[in-house]
């Protein structure tokens, strides 16, 4: 407690030097740089994500009171029709999850763009693990709804997991049970969704925040003269971002209910049966790539991201704004990816033998971007170009996936039979 003699009246201290630091105030340094305060530096992603996590835990805890894994769909209908604010509560949980995915993705892109991983490899790994937990939470969450998407989503994920060498069959039994998909498997996924995943996430969030503080906070190199007291400058902005996010997500939940498709029919998937927006790219990839290759792509992508701080040889963090030479490399990489994918999809349309062409086009673009960028401006630029290529491919696959209509033919998403994203 700052070595303060006991008995001294607290009121005599200026408000900004509050002598009873709480856990929350301990997360803040006494002084922060003005650069770290700017919204453009952080996107407010940390506070926005924390706020959404809080909303998810709270709304999830309340939802669990009425949720029945054995009759999932019926319990959701009852929640939405008979429980006061039940519909809004589920909508709040749904839109907060979507919001958290978007915020986490933006934060991820910022960290990659600024090469902030280079100096803080530990927190980069913690962040990646959090992104993984978030993805698994979203996945297990939508399998709990009991509609068509839940059932067939779980079915496809179990099918994909079964292709994993050695551990595949065991993992499927662990997470989905040994029988057919139904109340028993929903019970397992529910347990995973409400116990292991959120508690692991909570632990890693604490580690993530603690590490930011330990590493000197945001913009650690700022000279002392350019620093201002964290309170009120930082705290005020944090409260503002939290309130804005809270307002936005509550307003959205009040205006728009969470989607609820027709009840699961184990004999007849919808046509088409589409994954939620964040998995559309993966679904599109799976629709034209052997399952083992899909797993390999995921494995290599995760491994490469985890190794990024050690692959990058430039040391310190960079700027989000690329240099002129780098901009040319990045623009060429993006154009190459889009062009390659367009040509590949053209080839698929002409010949069934070319069905893996889009996946191969992405692989080619990544290799070209990595080697071209490295030769032109160094290894960091090469890595950035390769990551941009992957991001563009993800975007293109998502858009194509959104345009898959009945019988998996391409149709505009707003056309009849295209199915919701």
């Amino acid at each position: 407690m700052e070595g303060k003699p006991s008995g001294e009246p607290v009121a005599s201290l200026p408000p900004s030097q509050e002598s009873r630091p709480t856990f929350v105030t301990h997360l803040h340094p006494a002084l922060v740089s003005e650069r770290a305060l700017r919204f453009s530096t952080t996107l407010g992603a940390g506070i926005a994500a924390l706020t959404l996590f809080g909303v998810l835990v709270t709304s999830g805890g309340l939802l669990a009171l009425t949720y029945a894994p054995a009759s999932a769909y019926a319990s959701l209908i009852e929640l939405e029709q008979a429980v006061p604010f039940g519909r809004t509560l589920r909508a709040l949980h749904h839109w907060s999850a979507d919001g958290l995915l978007i915020v986490a993705l933006l934060h991820f892109l910022r960290i990659v763009g600024m090469a902030a991983y280079a100096r803080r490899p530990f927190n980069w790994l913690v962040g990646l693990a959090l992104l993984g937990l978030l993805t698994l939470s979203a996945l297990s969450g939508y399998t709990l709804v009991g509609d068509q998407r839940s059932f067939w989503g779980a079915s496809v994920v179990a099918g994909l997991l079964a292709h994993l060498p050695v551990a595949g069959a065991t993992l499927v039994r662990l997470f989905f049970g040994s029988g057919e998909l139904g109340p028993a498997s929903t019970g397992r996924l529910f347990a995973l969704h409400v116990t292991l995943l959120p508690s692991l996430a909570f632990g890693l969030i604490v580690a993530h925040l603690w590490r930011v503080r330990r590493d000197g906070g945001l913009a650690a190199d700022t000279p002392q003269a350019e620093r201002v007291p964290a309170r009120p400058h930082l705290l005020g902005r944090e409260v503002l971002v939290a309130l804005l996010v809270l307002t936005a997500v509550v307003a959205l939940a009040a205006a728009m209910p969470a989607p609820l498709g027709p009840p699961a029919d184990a004999a007849r998937p919808n046509n088409p049966e589409k994954a939620p927006w964040y998995f559309l790219a993966l679904q599109e990839l799976a629709s034209q790539t052997p399952s083992l290759v899909v797993l390999l792509v995921l494995f290599v992508a995760i491994l490469a991201l985890a190794c990024l701080p050690w692959l990058d040889d430039a040391g310190g963090a960079g700027s989000l704004i690329p240099s002129a030479k780098e901009r040319v490399v990045l623009a060429l990489s993006a154009a190459l990816t889009v062009g390659g994918l367009a040509a590949a999809y053209g080839a698929v349309g002409r010949s069934a033998a070319a069905r893996s062409a889009p996946a191969l086009a992405v692989l080619g673009a990544v290799v070209l971007a990595l080697s071209g960028g490295t030769l032109a401006t160094g290894r960091r630029a090469g890595l950035r170009a390769a990551l941009l290529t992957l991001a563009v491919a993800y975007l293109v696959f998502t858009l194509v996936g959104a345009c898959r209509g009945a019988n998996w033919t391409l149709a505009w998403p707003w056309q009849e039979g295209a199915g919701g994203a």
């Binding site: 998937p269 679904q283 629709s287 069905r355 009945a406 998996w408 033919t409």
Partner: protein, 142 residues
Amino acid sequence: MSSIATAALGTAAIATGAAALAIASHVDSGIDSTLLPPLLPAVGSMLFIKEQAVYLVRTPEGLGALSARCTHLGCLVRQNGRGFVCPCHGARYDGMGRVTAGPAPRDLPWLAVQVRADGAIAIDRRREVAAGTVAPLAPRAR
């Protein structure tokens, strides 16, 4: 016995037609084989048996069973023109279950069908047979 399912044609089936074709997980007694012909798919067409996730295929030679379970990631395929399409990732098969396009690694398997003396149809989901294998229908049912 548990792996053999029997198409049991009860009185409900008479009233509501082929859609009510019931599958029991045990060998059902009291099957009225005289009900069989109007409920069978017409020659050259097929009928989806929901509980078994198979297409019952009628050819001039008899009855075959084609699994509806997509060999890609396990969704159920739908009839599309003369063939099948999977609504989850777009795998395509022809009317014999052979892969024509998309990500499916194998053809749809054909399953063993048995037409019993009393006209009941048994499909063994665990026993794969050569593509196009059909069981001859009992003379009464034909």
